[in-house]
């Protein structure tokens, strides 16, 4: 560890000290299954993984037989001290790494991961942080992954903080963690689920399919007057739109944390 790194850690608050150190680890694919028509869920057994906070991400590095490597960042769908780490990967058109992870990888394969990463877009139970403000999660498509980790951690801790998840998704078939989300909304930790379907709704859905509107956002999020902490994750277009509306609706910009997935 360099001197610069040491002084950096010293400068951090006690809350951040609990975030584990990152490093490279060998990971073995323990299980893989189709999450949606376009995405797979990967369970990795990560040798020496120090655990991770809900909302953190990691880098995956793949090496080809001739030494060529490709590295990408993925949000982690799980949290806690376990060395079993769950990812859910969306296949990008023209992608290089995601088609391999979605279509080709199988149990027993090995890859390298670096993490856990990120100390800002994270959530920890009120018992640890003392922050009892309600939490609004807003997901666009595969942006639900780190937010699912937060909602799971909330249920796991049986945390009394009011949680609400607004999930914008193309069709009912594209919902990640569909069964798990239903289970979380039935758990004793309070979680309310709201969906916006942009291409096709379930039968009998009260609203037509279409992109989220400012009115729909206002109706489905914890009001600014309740001072929620808000986490928004999705494409850049989705995050820009939603974050601008939230500020327009009176949410304190400092209480709105955003994460976007890039174009690769």
């Amino acid at each position: 560890m360099s001197d610069a790194t040491t002084s950096q850690v010293t400068a951090l608050g006690a809350a951040l000290q609990s975030v584990p150190r990152s490093g490279w680890h060998a990971a073995t694919v323990a299980a893989v299954h189709r999450e949606t028509p376009n995405a797979s869920r990967l369970e990795l057994d990560v040798d020496g993984w120090p655990g991770n906070a809900a909302g953190q991400h990691l880098d995956v590095r793949l090496t080809a037989p001739d030494g060529y490597t490709a590295t990408r960042s993925y949000s982690i769908a799980s949290s806690g001290s376990s060395t079993r780490v769950v990812l859910a990967v969306d296949k990008l058109p023209d992608g290089e790494v995601s088609p391999y992870l979605v279509d080709d990888v199988r149990a027993g394969d090995m890859l390298e991961v670096h993490g856990p990463l990120g100390a800002f877009f994270v959530w920890a139970p009120a018992a640890q942080t003392g922050d009892r403000r309600p939490v609004q999660l807003i997901a666009g498509g595969s942006g639900v992954v780190p937010l699912f980790a937060m909602a799971s951690a909330h249920a796991e801790a049986d945390d009394p903080t009011p949680f609400r998840l607004l999930y914008s998704v193309r069709t009912p078939d594209d919902v990640y963690f569909s069964e798990e989300l239903r289970g979380l909304s039935d758990a004793s930790a309070p979680l309310r689920l709201d969906f916006v379907y942009t291409r096709r709704t379930p039968d009998g859905w009260p609203a037509p399919a279409g992109r989220i509107t400012r009115e729909a956002l206002e109706a489905a999020v914890i009001p600014a007057a309740d001072r929620p902490r808000v986490y928004v994750c999705g494409s850049t277009g989705f995050v820009e739109l939603v974050a601008d509306w939230l500020v327009g609706l009176g949410h304190d910009p400092r209480s709105v944390r955003t994460e976007r997935y890039g174009g690769t």
């Binding site: 090496t63 037989p65 590295t71 990888v105």
Partner: protein, 196 residues
């Protein structure tokens, strides 16, 4: 530690030598931001450099009257994407520091919206950094840091503070926002100084 992942072949073998390790070339312009995009009107915009001796200020008109550079450069984001041959216009930090006397060797850049990032002063001078207000011939989009952002292309792009508002000189290097939240204190893409 490095081993072959079964079944992975990857795509391109003719890797561009301008691409630092662990980076992938993109044609679009991804965004990395921790929160909402602040709305900054050039009528209210101000840029300051604060030293042990006092404060230097420019409003938008004064800033635009300074010598403007055309900058062609590659940019590298810590989230593994790079763009090559990007085109910017901006004011060199050499120009902004022309009349600034300071013994302090470190800089904290402050942005509208509260973002901060730290850079040693000698990494901002001698043609290494600008305050940029145009990208590809157009005014800089707010989501990319408009009206003006710091441009420090030899470091990972989180050092190129969007919506930059001013620089505060410091006696010692101190971590800014991402540097407190998991990113490296220095951020050289050629050394892969990504994380703590």
């Amino acid at each position: 530690m490095s081993f072959i992942t079964r079944g992975f072949s990857g795509r391109s073998r003719d890797r561009d030598e301008r691409l630092p390790p662990g980076q992938t070339l993109v044609s679009d312009f991804p965004v990395l931001s921790a929160g909402p995009t602040p709305e900054v009107d050039t009528a209210d915009w101000e840029f300051t450099i604060r030293t042990e001796a006092g404060v230097h200020r420019w409003n938008w008109d004064e800033f635009m009257a300074l010598k403007i550079d055309d900058v062609d450069t590659d940019i590298h984001c810590v989230t593994h994407w790079s763009k090559l041959g990007t085109n910017w216009r901006g004011v060199s930090l050499d120009t902004l520091f022309e009349d600034v006397e300071t013994e302090q060797e470190y800089v904290m850049a402050h942005s509208y919206g509260g973002y901060t990032t730290n850079v040693p002063l000698d990494e901002l001078l001698d043609g290494k950094a600008w305050v940029a207000f145009e990208f590809d011939g157009e005014p800089l989009d707010p989501e990319h840091g408009g009206p003006a952002r710091l441009l420090v292309p030899h470091l990972y792009f989180w050092k190129s503070a969007k919506w930059v508002h001013g620089l505060v000189m410091m006696d010692q290097d101190e971590p800014g926002f991402w540097e407190q939240n998991g990113y490296h204190i220095h951020g050289d893409p050629w050394k892969e100084e990504r994380y703590w």
